[in-house]
Point group: C3
Chain length 96, copies 3
């Protein structure tokens, strides 16, 4: 058993994007993902008010820095203009 | 595109406080928040057994250290005596 | 009021294990836990494809490094062979 430094990428976005983003994420090399329901409001740091108060999801991916960067870049370029999208990474230790 | 060091403030509390806390958080300068349903039990580190096993929420705010500190201070002084309340911060990189 | 360095242990696993794992976690010394519903897919870094697309939960525990290590060791030895199980820790500051 050991602890392996990884990144946790958290994506907060609109529920309507779920299937599309999952496909992108797996295609980019993720080995899995976790989805949970969320609701929220506001620009949350980067967005300019397009978020509805409901119908959001949180997608989480544990991966190395390169994978997280690829996902962030893809999602920014493809979805940020038209959808609410907030992404942040956090250093975690994968326990395996 | 760049990564910006921020804090993720996680607030675990009773669902009955949702509207009140959201108002406080936005008034203190947050640009958004995310809410998800949770359930739990116990003191979770700081509480003394007042939590019910259901009806909890998680409120998350991404912001700078000063904003998170203001929120923590306000919630402690106003709600900690009467409600279950657990707050922790985590360093994240906002990807925007 | 002060900030106390702690670990946040996140456990992603099958919903069927909820009661069993909660008992283990509390017995190992946790003072509380938070549960939320999640769904996911894939190996998520360490698993080999046994996860269903639904019926997962996220269990979170805030504690010191020793507690988190005890929980990780127990869950690995008892459940990893037969259940989907992903665990990671993250440094947090408990605000109390």
């Amino acid at each position: 058993m050991n602890a392996q430094p990884m990144q946790l990428l958290t994506i907060l976005t609109e529920a309507v994007l779920e299937d599309t983003l999952i496909e992108e994420i797996m295609e980019l090399g993720a080995r899995g993902y976790t989805i949970s329901e969320a609701r929220g409001r506001g620009t949350h740091g980067v967005r300019t008010g397009k978020w509805a108060a409901g119908g959001n999801i949180r997608i989480e991916v544990v991966g190395d820095a390169a994978l997280c960067r690829r996902i962030v870049e893809r999602l920014h370029s493809q979805y940020e203009r038209d959808y609410g999208l907030l992404m942040f990474t956090c250093a975690v230790e994968l326990q395996n």
